[in-house]
Amino acid sequence: MSPDGIVEVKKIGKIYDGGVEALRDVSLGLPRGRLSTLLGPSGCGKTTLLKIIAGLIPASSGEVWVKGKKVDGPGPERAFVFQDFALLPWANVLRNVAFGLELRGATKEHRFEIARKHIAEVGLSSFESSYPHQLSGGMRQRVGLARALAVDADIILMDEPFSSVDEQTRRKFQEELLELLRHKQKTVIFVTHSIEEAAYLSDQIVLLSPRPGTVSKIIRPNIERGVRDPDEIRRDKNYLDVVEEIWQILKRYV
């Protein structure tokens, strides 16, 4: 386990009511300021693990420690981005982005000011007063991301954020996400079932085996990102090797 792990997952197991075992004995450390991916086939419990880290569902056994404190529910240092966006359909973009701060009792002026800043960061400034149904899937997820950024959490948990978004938007969004996170020093935990997405985005990839989910392998791709053109990364030899390595492991589970 890495010494500077901001999130420590210790021997987590999860058995749902009805006896389905989703996770068994999962232990890992997620390094500060890095993007870690939880990758695996459908039903490997990756979303369950993410929600346990988020404190949204309780583990059956084991513990999660975040910033040296044991998790027993959601906390201000963690923010969640949902697969289905989870936006309030009756609220406009501005209120949706400010919603986390609204729940914390921030004044209207204060929270709208912060929300506007993050709406601009995700490129939606001219849509502040639009409603979710007027936005495309990609734009809705930007709202979800801005909402998570607005509460200024150290750790951002993303549950297959691009799965309901078309491929072009997905790629553009991935690039922007990397760009945005490089400046912010956030720790990101990202659930996906896309090998390319994991290899492209991650500093650390946690491969989970299916039913019950256990850690199959941890891969740390050594892909230099820095100032390079994103399209270059997709042709990088390391990137292609990582994709191949992951595929060789995952195809046993298919």
């Binding site: 949204l56 529910g73 959601p74 309030l88 359909p89 009756w90 986390g100 729940l103 149904h133």
Partner: protein, 259 residues
């Protein structure tokens, strides 16, 4: 031009439909199908006459009282109870079976019984309205609460919302459209309740007009009274439906997000 014709044509068709209906009524009345079935023109004249001599407004003044009281009571208690059922498993287990039965049962059958219990006054009539309107109002409020998108509740918890905030900021706004639809359906049931009560318990208001004119064989007046309550109910419910669509457009109800 094309857009204009699209806006006009439904109205034209609706007017045509009414014209055809009233025309057939006129023909059927003149045929005559039955001695007791007046043509449309005579019924309309009787209606205007009853408005002019004040008998119809007076009748509605007494008919609408128990209706309004009953619906207001149902709105407050019924919505409150439905919300309680949606939020608390205990209340749900305790009362859901009763309301499912009440909603399915022909509650009008109980109305004569009310006379024995509460006499022939206002109380019985208010109760008749409540008995018919309450189940649908309660059930709609309950379903509205229960149908909250679970993802939104999880979102609220993830962003540190309290249970109270979850109810006020997520569950209630989400349920508002269904609750309002319940009120509209409740009002429709309330109209049925009040007419049955006025015919079965004691003839007052509009029920009195119907009963009296039929007993003295003033069939146009009797039909005018019947038609007037049908039109009033239809207009009131239509108005609520329009208000509902304005307050809760389909896109922001959040219905499309429900998995």
């Amino acid at each position: 031009m094309e857009q204009k014709s699209r806006i006009i044509s439904p109205v034209v068709w609706q007017l045509l439909s009414f014209a055809l209906f009233f025309g057939l009524w006129e023909i059927a009345g003149r045929w005559p199908i039955s001695f007791a079935f007046p043509p449309f023109s005579k019924t309309l004249m009787a209606l205007l006459h009853m408005i002019a001599d004040g008998s119809l407004p007076k009748a509605y003044f007494s008919t609408l009282q128990p209706l309004v009281i009953g619906i207001v009571l149902c709105s407050i208690a019924g919505i409150g109870f439905g919300i309680g059922m949606g939020l608390s498993r205990t209340i749900e287990w305790f009362s859901l079976p009763i309301f499912i039965i009440l909603q399915a049962a022909p509650m009008a059958a109980i109305i004569p019984l009310l006379t024995y219990m509460y006499g022939i006054g206002l109380t019985s009539k208010v109760l008749a309205v409540i008995i018919l309107a309450a189940p649908v109002i309660v059930m709609n409020s309950y379903k509205g609460i229960r149908n909250t998108n679970p993802s939104l509740i999880q979102m609220c918890r993830a962003f540190l919302g309290t249970k109270r905030q979850e109810v006020i900021k997520i569950i209630l706004p989400h349920a508002a459209a269904l609750i309002f639809a319940g009120l509209r359906l409740g009002l429709a049931m309330g109209f049925i309740g009040i007419v049955i009560a006025e015919l079965l318990i004691t003839p007052t208001g509009i029920g009195d007009l119907i009963t009296y004119h039929s007993s003295v064989a003033d069939y146009p007046e009797m039909f005018a009274a019947i038609a007037s309550i049908i039109v009033l109910a239809a207009l009131a419910i239509h108005a609520l439906e329009r208000l509902e669509r304005r307050l809760f457009p389909a896109e922001i109800r959040g219905l499309e997000d429900v998995p």
